[in-house]
Symmetry: C2
Subunit: 386 residues, 2 copies
Amino acid sequence: MYNFEYTNPVKIIFGKESISRLKNEIPQGSRVLMLYGGGSIKGNGVYQQVKASLKDFDHLEFAGIEPNPRYETCMKAIEMVRRENIDFLLAVGGGSVIDATKFVAAGALYSGDDPWDFFSQRYIIEPEDALPIGAVLTLPATGSEMNGNTVVTRESTREKLSFGSPKVLPGFSILDPVTVFSLPDKQVANGVVDAFIHVMEQYLTFPVNAPLQDRFAESILQTLIEEGPKVLGNRQDYDAAANFMWSATLALNGLIATGVPQDWSTHLIGHELTAFHGIDHARTLAVVLPGVMNLKRKSKQDKILQFGERIWGIKEGTIDERIDQTISRTVSFFESLGVPCRLSEYGVPEETIRKISERFKKRGSKLGEKEDIDYSQVEKILFDRM
Amino acid sequence: MYNFEYTNPVKIIFGKESISRLKNEIPQGSRVLMLYGGGSIKGNGVYQQVKASLKDFDHLEFAGIEPNPRYETCMKAIEMVRRENIDFLLAVGGGSVIDATKFVAAGALYSGDDPWDFFSQRYIIEPEDALPIGAVLTLPATGSEMNGNTVVTRESTREKLSFGSPKVLPGFSILDPVTVFSLPDKQVANGVVDAFIHVMEQYLTFPVNAPLQDRFAESILQTLIEEGPKVLGNRQDYDAAANFMWSATLALNGLIATGVPQDWSTHLIGHELTAFHGIDHARTLAVVLPGVMNLKRKSKQDKILQFGERIWGIKEGTIDERIDQTISRTVSFFESLGVPCRLSEYGVPEETIRKISERFKKRGSKLGEKEDIDYSQVEKILFDRM
């Protein structure tokens, strides 16, 4: 096991009718900005519950945060926060709204010219301070409710970049599984795949003798495999929704990453597909992961075999046959949720692959837990997924 | 799944050579009291490492905290803290030292006459404030390094009682698995059993459709079963020590308790055996748990069968046969570590059972996840374990 540091102070308030507890979590006298997306929260009653709980707070609203939230939109929110002397941000929505809120929280207090610096100069320029954040999660998927990561897309340059900072951790996140009841199939499927692949990025590397972290990762995968289809099949199944929701949060709150190598190549390649074609984040992951598994079958061999055996029960055949079966079972799972796993199914032309490879070449990126996935391997991975 | 609230802000610093990082975690200018036990830290080099890291801090020492730390000893430390204007407490040791430090941290700032109130009037009188705490863990077992619980024994009345408060959570805990290398067999065995039974108290109740929590609990049990004997067999096996250490912490940091019923009857009964006979905490648990499983085999049936199948691979036989096998495999595991599981092996007379039962009668306690274990059932459980 590697040395590690772990701390996660986010307060989780989980369960039925938990949204009303919001009012006890925001410091009295705060001037609150409530940020949300396209208005689905008005259809499912979440907006009304949040407004009821905010009634004693001086508060404003900022609506219209997109899936894959845009820098341009966030900058408008930052302007509003500064203009209106906001001192508490409340994100009501899924990962996109929470991610945008994190950027707004740090961006509003940034003394430099352009808070895009946090993304474009990640690891060099980091937030020194941020406004406090609370979240009401309405879509289990990204884990943003319990981590300090944010991903934002800059429309003008077609860049989708991320940064992470403990300064933008939500102080609290409210998780009411009832919010899952009104989600469309596509969002549930995306959420299951997103959480699944978050686990894979922290698990499918090479063994470092960390059996507990492995088992925790496998526990989340198994639960998503069991509960995901239940949620898709019956949106009113509270327990399935709750199990899905808690699994998605624990998939990316730092816990299963303790003391083990990580490989975020699937995400980094996937982001480019979203940047160029607007494909849903989770779907880009479902496309890319099988390619990474296929290309890195030697260096990831031990963990792919462990994953195949413990998750899919694959024990027979040569090593290559077992790896092939494992990839194919994983793809079948994503497809069973209605998520296509080939670039051609999303109408992505070969030209895009070359553009993406060119970007990684320019950046000089070396992806993967062994930093051995360069632009030419990215190209191979994507051609493998046409 | 039940509704729940979960937050755990303790910063874990885990790994080889992590003790030297102490100096970065204590606020500059603090006046530190370092609390420790019987001096084993002087033999294994931990004392020297801590002292080296504290060299730029104004600090004092308080030695002599016992296993099952005593109220009387803690009160001396509280006196010292007040007299010397200490403003930071550093616990260096196992669960006993950390538990004592928590009591000292809250007790020193208590405005009432006797801080024993936190124990004797638990849930009525709670700490309003506490001094900040840091910990250097030297013995994986209790999980005290990442929770807000403390158990203290009052010698004069032979009471062993507990309280919990977020105010006494350590700000940071340093976990260096190398500290395990110098532990005697008995302490390793006790630590494995203690952590194992912490998991059981949060797992072996009744199903509430919380598959992820179940799997996390089972993951810790499996890892303890695998790694515990490795640590016993080779004290220099760093990975085994690390896996044991991280398992023991996660066994009682609140995570696996989220959204599920709990049953702390084994602990509450076990505490009495320590109070009357000074038996090591973990050993009292190994004695009592099989009795609780046997007596509550009906109400715990589903989870005992799940535990038996998933952990011990027991699938054959009638329900009662499988439960018997499951209890017997669990006992064999404890015994394989050198931990006897019968009261008679500790020389406890029948008279003690009656005294303990009398105590529970007087307190009117109803133990267990269904609050259906009264004094007469406590008596049955203990007679079953003679």
